[in-house]
């Protein structure tokens, strides 16, 4: 009878036995991409087991998926070096710091990584090369790039980084040059900056104002209100457009660099996910 009682008790409690792995539910939430709930569950678990590295890792990963990278870093900081998840965490931390606009901190983290094998060594090289590109330190990038080509799985990203380096090292347009061109011919500065539509518009507007000023000068003389009004409008527009064309070059440059930097970050991110899938 007692044996039967024991068996029935085991069966009745089997529902709870299924969840004996504390992180099983957390893993399920992550797999379902319920990141808010995963964060809640992980925070609850860390209260009871503050040193469970899997929980901490998944907590950081849930924040990472939500792009709350500061919280990811806070969670991952508590993972001890002895943990099997430590290597992956270090790569994710380095990338997160870089993504947050702290490439120096990211570089420091990547530099401290002790690779376990040739794949993690090649990944570390790729990540450090990416950071060097983001810092526009081209000699350091090429030094890292010497280590490219050892692992075929990273080849595409390595090639991309080489291409970005070429684009970033290309001769850059100069704001002062745009200003001088704009001063000489309205619209030319904008054309140089790459804003062709704006260049035509600027040339047209300046010509129209200039013609009206000339008309006022010819018919009413240099002291007429008409001439002074139109000439002033022309002068103000011209001076403003000279200044504007220098800013246009800077804006264009920043836009272009931002696009390339975003691409670099993507090419730094993809291999981390691939290697530690």
């Amino acid at each position: 009878m007692k044996l039967l009682f024991f068996l029935l008790l085991v069966i009745s409690l089997s529902g709870r036995a299924q969840t004996s792995d504390a992180n099983a539910f957390l893993r399920y939430l992550m797999a379902k991409r319920f990141f808010d709930e995963a964060i809640l569950e992980a925070n609850r678990l860390t209260k009871h087991q503050p040193e469970n590295d899997t929980t901490l890792f998944l907590l950081g990963l849930a924040h990472y998926e939500k792009k709350d990278l500061k919280w990811s870093l806070a969670a991952w900081d508590n993972i001890p070096p002895a943990s099997p998840l430590f290597l992956q965490t270090q790569f994710l931390k380095g990338f997160s710091q870089t993504f947050l606009g702290h490439p120096n901190e990211g570089w420091e983290i990547f530099q401290r990584i002790v690779p376990h094998d040739s794949l993690s060594a090649a990944l570390r090289t790729l990540e450090m090369a990416g950071v060097e590109l983001l810092r526009h330190d081209f000699p350091a990038f090429h030094q890292q790039a010497d280590g490219f080509g050892r692992i075929s799985v990273l080849k595409k990203q390595e090639d991309n980084l080489m291409a970005y380096a070429g684009l970033l090292q290309k001769k850059r347009r100069k704001p002062w040059k745009a200003g001088v061109l704009q001063l000489a011919l309205p619209g030319a500065g904008y054309y140089y900056a790459g804003y062709k539509g704006h260049a035509i518009y600027n040339l047209l507007l300046s010509t129209l104002l200039g013609l009206q000023a000339w008309e006022g000068y010819r018919k009413r003389g240099p002291e007429s209100v008409r001439f002074i009004g139109y000439a002033s409008a022309f002068a103000v527009l011209h001076i403003a457009s000279v200044w504007g064309s220098t800013l246009a070059v800077k804006m264009r440059r920043e836009e272009r660099e931002k696009t390339i930097h975003d691409q670099i970050l993507i090419d730094m991110h993809i291999p981390i996910r691939t290697v530690f899938r």
Partner: protein
Amino acid sequence: MIRYLLICIFLFALFSGNAQHRADSLFRAGDFGGAQLEYERLVFEGKPPVSLWLLRKAYSQKAQQQYEHALASLKRINLYEAPDSLTAKLFYETALLHYLNHQPDLALGVIQEWRYLHPAAFSSAGKVVEIFALAENQQWVEAKNAFDDWARSYAADGWVNPLAGVEKVRWKKRRTAETLSFLLPGSGQWYAGSPGRGVVSAGLNGGAVLFAIHQFSNGFFFAGAYTGVGLFYLFYWGGARYAVKLAELKNQRQQHELMQALHTAFRQKKE
């Protein structure tokens, strides 16, 4: 033997009921995030009825105004396999959540499906959602008729249809406002219900034309062409665009007033 069996049943009920009790308590305490997590745990643990936990999870998400997530939770329930007792609730919640998520067309689709598949389970609450969804979808006459249907079938006497006379509301046509503006600058704004702005627009256009004529007649051809005609061009096209915008705003104001009337009618009765 029976005693041992009873002990087992008690223990099973205690452990399996605990999680549900925790989830329900959190919900009642207003900790909807916590409740949502606990209902998902019940789903994870496979405790039946899973459809009920998912429905309650959707309630928790709705309480946090996470309508899209709540809809995603409901989509995980197989409507055709859910117990009959839940069918009406599931259809109602899905329709309501679509309405709250600014998808009135989808809400109407769900209501149509509900009425077709389970006519007996179709409820007064479903009809109310239909009224609001039709109104949100700008099907005003249909909304008015749906309100009359609802009042006849479900409501007590004393209800006044807040959408009565809705067919007499004069909605402004964007195209008409634009065409009028092109034909006579300022008349588009007047049509859109802003006569003051119409007068200003007409004045600006007229002033630009007069300036151009004056300049031409005095031999200032560049000033006449570029300043006079240029300004007229800007006022003319800008005025037409503005008339369209004003017509849209006028329609939005009218829609808002009608929606407010509908909300007020239900709110006052509820109080």
